[in-house]
Amino acid sequence: MSWERWRIPLMLGPTVLIILVLFFGSLGFGFLQSLGFQPQLGNTELNFDAYISVMFSEEHSSRFWAGLLLTFWVAFASTFISAALAIAIALLLRRTFFGKRLAVFLFQLNLPIPHLVIAIGMILVFSQSGLLSRVAGELGLISSPREFPVLVRDSSGIGIILAYVWKEIAFFGIIVMAILQSLGEDYEAAAQSLGANRWQRFRYVTLPLIMPGLMSASIIVFAFTFGTYEVPRILGVRHPEMLPVMALDFFLNPDLNARAEGMALSIIIAVIVLILVLIYMYISARTIRRG
């Protein structure tokens, strides 16, 4: 009896241990570092200097706040645009047409492609010396590469957003298509029979039905785009730069004292994402309780 009681906790033990040590251990150590705890440098006093330095010092504050704004903008725009496009494409792909299988395959093709490859692809296609610029030049639309609009390494993060949209649209698509397939079209048929036109069916039936799944996917994409550095490192500019790139710069700084600032920035990113996840969980729980 007592063995049965402990069986499941014991079986879960190794996994829980790995999570505790690797995840919470490193998180805890990172947090200590962000508070200035670096015994190898002789710093054992805990304080919030690194946080204050990152957010309010003359040296870093303008980079931080501009970077925070850009990070929010890129994460929000990438999530919203890819979700909206994925819904539109998934609704189109639900219809029956010649070549549907090929279209679905192409739609999901970039799912296994690494973000890094997508970012480099963006430069090859969308930069001022890229494929589109050359085609535009050949067609006589522009006379020099400089006339081609700056779509990558731009201060508004358009290149980064395009890369994320290109990549995440397939992720959203696979989720939305799965939801639509499981729902079928009966609810929409019922709404249509009750007088709902195409837009009303989408607004009042399809969207609310796919919203829970879409929200979960959105929080994943938002958290990911908020916290990763590869794509903005390749496609972004030095100022403003997204917060994960700024954190990377701190880590790569030969001055080891900058580690604390890097960690503080990473913790800030994590806390922002965590707050957003908690807000999402609160909204979901309330929605589930209601409906």
């Binding site: 009966d186 048929a189 709404a191 249509q192 029979s193 036109n197 009303q200 009042y204």
Partner: protein, 354 residues
Amino acid sequence: MTHVRINNLTKAYSGVDAPAVADLDLDIPSGRLIALLGPSGCGKTTTLKMIAGLIRPTAGDITFDGDSIVRIPPEKRGAVMVFQNYLLFPYMSVGQNVGFGLKMAGVDPKTIDQRVKEMLNLVRLPDISDRRPKQLSGGQQQRVALARALITKPRVLLLDEPLSNLDAHLRDEMRELILSVQRDLGITTIFVTHDQEEAVLLADRIAMIFDGRLQQFASPDVFYRHPASERIARFLGGVNFLPGKRQGDTVETDVGSFRFAPGGEDERPPEDGLLTIRPEQIVLGQPTAENTVQGRVVSRIFVGTYTRYRLALGSHQIEAVRSADVAGDFAEGQDVPIGFPADRVWMVRPDQAA
């Protein structure tokens, strides 16, 4: 009150040899309650969805009060469908579900609230406006779905298997509700069912459909007394069939000749077919001047309220049911006079000719 006509309605799917619905003709007078009855896959729901506009016909026409509606989009037809699995929107309250059609039509919220209350009263669920669909029983969900359809004042109400998901008690309640609402509002109503009992209980007239084709369109009473074919008779629970040839109002079989009462003008029995009579219509042990033959009891099963007999009649076997209220019983192996009342005997087309 809308007069519905269906003319040569056909639905064929590419890659499928047999059409789902073929050359269907129906004339449904205003304010009537009609059942489309048939086994699963016979095309009855396809027909309903074509009337609703949710499936486009391959050929043929549907008219409401003489005007073709096949090119009118479903949301503008005024033919509202109540689905078998109710399809209440799970993220809306009951009140929001019921008011959905009016909201789509741009009716002001105050009027919607008032009409929702009226409709919920009509379906006898006055106090559940704030509940969610998942908090309701199957019967309540069905009523809410009905209220949601009726609030739009449809020209034609379409019900897909309205009683099939309900248990016996709720079926009776729902049947009464549908009948009273339909009579009060006078909405032309077409419903689909595979359950002959459901069709008989609700419908003014029944359209029997097999393999996408209309077999017979008549009142429930005519279906039971004068089915057009062996297949229809069997679908409605008929089990007794004796091959025979008709001469006027008499059928000659190899166990004797039987007179039968002529049917209506559109009920013409075949010359060469099967004599049929329902088991409960057979009279046992009371010899009469006509339509009585001698048989032998092969087996008997006592079921409480009735006894079911298997009877040998020449080289044939038939079944008879005798109510427990009727005095007398017959033992296995006993010879017994078997009466076929003339007004209960009918002649049907055999299956191969159906």
